[in-house]
Subunit: 268 residues, 2 copies
Amino acid sequence: MHPLDTAIALKPITKGSYLAHTSAAYANMVGPFGGVTSALLLNAVMQHEDLLGEPIVLTVNYAAPIADGEIVVEAQPVRTNRSTQHWLMQATQNGELVSFATAVTAIRRETWSALEATPPQNVPEPLSLSRMETANKPIWTQCYDMRYMDGDMPGEAGGAEQDDSYSCLWVRDEPPRALDFPALSAICDSYFPRIFIRRQRRVAIGTVSLTTYFHADNALLAAQGEQFLLATAKALNFRKGYFDQSAEVWSADRQLLASTHQMVYFRD
Amino acid sequence: MHPLDTAIALKPITKGSYLAHTSAAYANMVGPFGGVTSALLLNAVMQHEDLLGEPIVLTVNYAAPIADGEIVVEAQPVRTNRSTQHWLMQATQNGELVSFATAVTAIRRETWSALEATPPQNVPEPLSLSRMETANKPIWTQCYDMRYMDGDMPGEAGGAEQDDSYSCLWVRDEPPRALDFPALSAICDSYFPRIFIRRQRRVAIGTVSLTTYFHADNALLAAQGEQFLLATAKALNFRKGYFDQSAEVWSADRQLLASTHQMVYFRD
């Protein structure tokens, strides 16, 4: 069983209610890597017998630290229309809310389509680059093969402040795993905090809210399989304890699979 | 009373529960303008006696059409930490969920701060531009003074398809109104659908989810007052019935007040 599948495994309790357990493989500085919490909450939708269509939007709010141990995960379709379905999900520990989320799923149809964003240009092949070292980084980074072209996480020694927080990298699950919606949602949180890149040092941070827009459907995810994803991220603003991040995840053949945004608390 | 204040007025029923009413001034093609629904749900947080801090993130999911008439609005703080608070809000009509939302509010602190995004350059003053005509447009457009520099809504006759969906405009409430968080959240949905700009024709659309990141605090909003806001928007991708929009709202003195993202259904 792939470590991600272990980390997002759900044991049914009642309809829409499941028991999960934190996974040591995806441990972060405090509690689990936020991407795996996002994948866990989305998985509760994917496993629900009343699911209509495929994920279009996922918003996860990180309300409190998650302790090592059991998590009760619940997903409820709060409104089902003809082609769209709205979801409310929550994760609790000992009856206390730790994360909650909303999602929209929908049946997609063939329509006029057009890619407007431009993927990064003149990008070297992933295997021509070195894999990022994971020593002195959170445990969860070992669950990804990241190959940075720009904006890598600064070393513990730090460096001179930069004018921008842009990152560009190739990333895939380690060991390789066929891409699906939960895995893609986790990868959408696998960027290092923009303030680390900008300031070239590590500060205390915590994502408060993460929204992911899925441009891909199951067919595009299947075409991607286990290949490396091309990923970019930037911030717009850092102000009075909070900064944002906007990021894009591209397939190996330059289809936009997801765009993702988050607001992050920082202490400085 | 300003029409926006009428449209988002909340009559308390019980703690966190209010009665509201749709407003003819903000009518859209079907139901109310989505921005005013966003402002209404946020107002339920702003009016709550347990509110901690100022809005940081707001996500509104549009679950079903809203009929003209009464709306029950509820806001509940689902987790309160030392400096952050997580909210769940919902709007119902006749007991049926029509919209729901999540928000994070927080007490901001002085920290290292840096603006990374670049505002539009070489922008003419708003009063040197013509106000957009509102004839043959939805009623709610009369509640804004919009002065487009780029990417205006196409006329009913349509035009040749464009390569991009970028828009840039000056916008403020009409009549003028001092900016606050509900008004800013409404303006974040006041852009015309990106597919109208891209295709230069009007098609059936509906926003399914709208997320707004507030970079401004009360002091920045007070400094803005009733001045025009500088607003930009673009799409990344249009695919199989859904497209995204990413937008920025800048103050008159080029502070980033909000960044906002949405996923929109379209029929083609």
